[in-house]
């Protein structure tokens, strides 16, 4: 049950800060997809899902595009901490014909069309080894403190 570092893409932070190209995470569909070691994130330059190329895992129990992080909610604490949080994506159930080469999660806005229109939000660090749903259920949970926060 390892914790893996989550990283926001710089372009996402830039858009949210400027408002130019900013997205309403509470009003759009956010998904977590699993990619192979073939994807090398460029935190500074990658901004849309087509930057990932053909690196998504595939196998029984995994739906292309990944699973939804439902019920997004952005809270503000009395101390001024803004927290962006979601439900966890549904578990990828064990299947002998599943995928076994997952190396990281990528979280993005799923607009339902071309990958070039789906804004990237962030990605996890490499899992350190290939993971998948062949030997058991595969799941991810968002941090108890939220996916990301902005302090006063």
């Amino acid at each position: 049950m390892p914790a893996v570092t989550f990283n926001l893409y710089d372009k996402f932070r830039q858009k949210q800060a400027s408002g130019n190209g900013a997205v309403n995470v509470e009003g759009l569909t956010v998904k977590a997809m699993v990619v192979t070691a073939g994807y090398t994130p460029d935190q500074n330059l990658h901004d849309f899902r087509d930057d990932l190329g053909a690196t998504e895992v595939s196998g029984t129990g995994y739906t292309a595009g990944g699973n939804t992080l439902a019920n997004p909610v952005v809270t503000l604490s009395g101390g001024g901490l803004v927290t962006v949080d979601f439900d966890d994506p549904a578990v990828w159930a064990q299947d002998a014909a599943g995928f076994a080469d997952g190396r990281r999660f990528v979280i993005y806005i799923a607009r339902g069309g071309a990958a070039s229109a789906d804004e990237l939000i962030g990605y996890s660090d490499d899992f350190g080894a290939d993971k998948g749903n062949v030997d058991g259920d595969f799941s991810m949970t968002v941090n108890a403190a939220g996916l990301y926060t902005s302090a006063r």
Binding site: A3, G122, F127, M140, L147, A151
Partner: protein, 66 residues
Amino acid sequence: MFDWFRRKKPVPQLGMQENPVQLNPSPSARDLRNRARITRLEEAIKSAKGERKTDLVAELKRRRGA
């Protein structure tokens, strides 16, 4: 002069702190997370107003029932 520097407020920043995600979490880790989320919502509701407050209350009810 030095007092002026000490009194000067820091420049506001829009820093974002990313939090680690958990791979294949245990049931106890999920429980811990759900409790943290409920606590956070309860605090947010205190300062929320209008439609925003209504939305947060609905979300709190949903999560308490989860």
